[in-house]
Symmetry: C2
């Protein structure tokens, strides 16, 4: 059996060099915004419900979103369907599409609350939201042995990756908006890394707090700015460069990156 | 609000033509074998635990396998770590890597039971099993604020896709083996469909119960045989062609497929 180590002992884990100058603009999405973005990034998650014995039951579900609230359509005959009919407490874990080979480095959320059967106008809106996200549901959404449930989110836990995590309240989650830039991030990140490596390194040096950066790659981006992975003689670090102002669509990304580049290269 | 339909009313869902002759060998893995195979197909799942209030909490976890039992390594500071310390009841949902764009068509399982902290030799084996599946765990597995938990599986639910599902007991799950062929299935399926379309159609006609098949594609395969998607004038159907004898490794797949082809074309 291995000797236990305290968390303070880095063992052979890599250490991270700190910035040498202030980060100019570290603005980034709130936990509530991150959670809304992750919820909007997929149509599948894993539901936790309670069996008749009160045991926790994990099961894959599809969902749509109605103002951020997951809308499920589950068979009353399925175990999770019977569980929800018996006890309406539930949570759903949603993982964003993987961008890192290490699963624990990828963002994910848990939305916890209570499910309710929508009625009237909310039923119609919930049904439409589920069908928009899960087209195959047209084959069963109106069967009498399937139930549409809306998860009223009371509490949110967001984990952005190693060491990045926070909680949000249900109302903050509901009031937040999904990031409008994130769906286009993959292509934009690839373009920045392929064609603008010098600009990224300049951003890390003059805006990101690493004047000794020799290279930088963009690892993620959103409406507030870019996440950078920085190489310097001291090791590998991670920093943030925020745009002059937040942007509202992927169309504005190019101008925001050009402005960042000019500012980085002038400094 | 839409008119509710009974499950017996197909609505606009496609109907499936039945076989016209007996299926020669429909052998396929048991639910316990399917579950072991799915558990072995990935290192991530979603855990359901109980909060101090008894609420169900879903959260992403990584895991290794010790004789089929999921081995978790979770921070005692994380919500699921605190939950497990308080109540050892847990279940884990695992989804096989997607092969179908419709998430509900993809295989998944729930393994339910109680977690325990392994000791002595079992601790060493569990630690090694977790590290083998989750290499990054070397950075934290020995920290004193992380706990290694083994999920003793009491009950298994397997869902193979639409209309394919079954339960298994914990002992049956533990006694079963993961399919030795499934990890190589992707390449083999692509090869069969690209280069042996005539053979697959012949299998569907003479072994699969669809003498009117005009085409067939392989949708999955395992140590017992091939799943076929059959096109005939009556519509689209799904059937099964079992090998002469089950095979024990991917190396034996070619010979088994050749034998199936000969038998199909002789008949």
């Amino acid at each position: 059996m291995s000797t236990l180590r305290d968390h303070g002992d880095p063992g052979d884990a890599p250490s991270v060099p700190p910035p040498l100058t202030p980060v100019v603009n570290a603005a980034r999405p709130s936990a509530a915004e991150e959670a809304r973005t992750i919820a909007a990034s997929t149509n599948t998650g894993t539901l936790a419900t309670l069996t008749a014995d009160g045991d926790p039951w994990a099961s894959m579900v599809t969902f749509g979103l109605l103002d951020g609230a997951p809308v499920l359509c589950v068979s009353n005959l399925a175990e999770h369907g019977r569980n929800l009919a018996g006890d309406q407490r539930a949570s759903i874990a949603v993982t964003a599409p993987a961008t890192d080979a290490d699963p624990l480095a990828n963002p994910r959320i848990t939305l916890a609350g209570v499910v309710a059967r929508p009625t009237g106008d909310e039923y119609d809106a919930a049904r439409a939201a589920h069908l928009a996200a899960v087209p195959a549901a047209k084959y069963y959404v109106d069967y009498s042995d399937f139930t549409l449930w809306v998860l009223r989110v009371h509490r949110v836990r967001w984990v952005g990756g190693y060491g990045r995590m926070d909680s949000a309240t249900g109302p903050d989650y509901t009031a937040a908006a999904p990031d409008p830039v994130r769906p286009a991030a993959g292509g934009a990140i690839a373009h920045l890394n392929a064609d603008h490596a010098d600009a990224l390194a300049a951003m890390a040096r003059t805006l990101g707090g690493y004047p000794d950066a020799t290279a930088a790659t963009c690892t993620d981006l959103d409406r507030y700015g870019l996440d950078l992975r920085v190489t310097c003689a001291r090791g590998i670090a991670y920093t943030r460069v925020g745009y002059a102002t937040p942007i509202d669509s992927a169309d504005q990304l190019r101008a925001a990156a050009v402005e960042l580049t000019r500012r980085a290269q002038q400094a």
